[in-house]
């Protein structure tokens, strides 16, 4: 079974957020970048499928600048077999559809059975790439999956919706997006880290993928951020003083009369 995991490098979630000089992007100064936690779950699932079947290959594909290679190495250290790094100045500023186009072109170069990726990239939080990738590759997809079973040439996935799980079956090849709860990703051991150094990483650019330059990057983007602002800080509210009984009494009064929410 050929498994492909798409991985994005994202700013660490605990990182401070400052607005860049252009007023429409994150100031990268002092921000550490990590493997998108949802993609880590997707990778863990791919590794478990390979282990369960006792055969197969896990390839990790990432789009992004050179510094993304560290994240790619940590995926290899977790146990992926090989990496594909999609790197080109023309990719910069891609929106989700542009990203999906680039990933689709890279993935379509070799036969595959299952594509796994996070249900969203932490930070930009678009939650679009998985379904778009499936659409561009003309594949079925199951989104926001918390349990996955591979049954021969098809899959059964449990997808989280409001107050329930949808059970969905689909033939392979297919795209699955991972939600927290699907598994607990493993840590890369020292052995894994050493082994990762010898694993192959292929670097591909726009020309290798045969994509028109105006369909990707800033030029091809159908949506773009024109402004990034810190949210209007909620003014701290009232601290209700007094004995618990009094404070509770006052809280209920405020909720009814001032806020009108109960």
């Amino acid at each position: 079974m050929n498994l492909v995991v798409c991985m994005k490098q994202v700013p660490d979630t605990a990182a401070r957020v400052a607005i860049g000089g252009d007023g429409r992007s994150l100031d990268p100064e002092g921000v550490t970048f990590v493997v998108n936690p949802y993609d880590e779950i997707a990778l863990e699932e791919a590794l478990r499928i390979r282990e369960k079947l006792g055969e197969g290959e896990v390839a990790v594909v990432t789009m992004g600048p050179e510094k993304g290679s560290a994240a790619l190495r940590s995926c290899l250290a977790m146990g992926a077999d090989r990496g594909i790094h999609l790197q080109d100045a023309a990719f910069q500023g891609s929106d989700s559809l542009g990203t999906a186009r680039i990933l689709a072109a890279a993935i379509a170069r070799k036969p595959f059975d299952l594509i796994l990726l996070g249900k969203q990239g932490v930070g930009t939080d678009n939650s679009q790439t998985g379904p778009m990738l499936a659409e561009l590759l003309d594949l079925p997809h199951v989104n926001v999956v918390v349990k996955l079973e591979i049954m021969g040439k098809s899959l059964k996935a449990f997808r989280q919706i409001e107050g329930a799980l949808e059970v969905i079956e689909a033939p392979l090849p297919a795209v699955v997006t991972a939600q927290k709860g699907l598994n607990e990703p493993r840590y890369a051991g020292l052995k894994g880290i050493m082994a990762a150094k010898k694993k192959p990483v292929e670097v591909l650019c726009l020309r290798d993928l045969g994509l028109p330059a105006d369909e990707v990057g800033e030029k091809g983007a159908l949506v773009r951020w024109t402004q990034l602002e810190l949210p209007a800080s909620r003014s701290s509210g009232k601290i209700l003083q007094g004995e618990p009984e009094e404070a509770v009494e006052e809280l209920v009064r405020l909720l009814r009369e001032e806020a009108k929410v109960i």
Binding site: T13, A14, V17, L26, S96, L97, A100, G123, T124, D125, N126, S127, Q128, T129, G130, P131, M132, E135, L136, D138, L139, P140, H141, N143, V144, F158, Q160, E162, G163, A164, L165, E166, V167, I168, E169, A170, P171, K180, L222, V223, R224, W225, L228, L230, P231, S233, R234, S236, G237, K238, I239, L240, P244, A247, V248, E249, L251, L255, A259, V261
Partner: protein
Amino acid sequence: MAEVTVFVEQRSGQVKRAALEVVAQGRGLADAWGGSLEAILIGTDLDDAAAKVLPLGPDHVTLLEHPVLSDYSVEGFTQALSGYVARTNSLALLLPATAMGMDLAPRVAARLRVGLASDCISISSGPDRTMEAVRPVFSGKAMATVRFSSARPVMATLRPNVFPPGEPVANPAGKITKKTPELDETKIRARLTGIEKDQSGEIDVKEADIVVSGGRAMMNSENFGIIRDLAAALGGAVGASRAAVDAGFIAHQHQVGQTGKVVAPKLYIACGISGAIQHLAGMSSSKVIVAINKDGEAPIFKIATYGIVGDLFRIVPLLTEKILKLKAE
């Protein structure tokens, strides 16, 4: 044909409030553009659902009915919705940012080759019938303004509970039209084979008007009983911080935050939750926030509308008692 199109989510004839909020925003956008509004429903036996949408004043209600679409399938709904919208002159297509909307919208956007802004908390009309959207990014630590290229329709999914529900208009005059979409059934490959309802019968935090959450301070699952009691008294749902979930006090489906659910209820009550940035990412757009914490310096107080500094094990039961008394009156 209509300038603004809204997708109205329904399951078994039930229309979600989030879908009605989208209809109301669509109405506002259409009015700002001097255009008309079309609401689209997809499924089978949609008459009852259509009747719920009509009072909000769409000019057209289009029912795309097909037996194969009785259950939601992303490939079937994508075919129906994009196939229909592509033949109209729609300039904007809005969906709710629900499980269904967040699944369907990107696939439709990719098929139509148009831009999509996800999980927006505000949309506004610009000059020349353009639209601008604002959405929280970086766990709510920043707000991005999104603009679209010239491809039409522009698409957005709207975060539930943030937008006001629509008001019925005086003389709803919308016309209901039924259509049978053309479907390539061989391209509906991912199919629903079952639904596992949450057996607890609890309200999902994403669906609730009121959410009462407990944190690490709860210490064990039994103690969560006081959170459940308060939630029950208020008719709300039970939420939790990740610390409470990781410690095994409560199941993951209750987790609010960056790696849990994003909620925006009218009222969010945080009990024994410090207010870590990843927790705030899931609840900071709640309308009213109440914090109950024994540490007056806890960051949760910085965003709380009302706060009580004290022991939650005393305060929460008192609050429940007081609410129940009020309800009995």
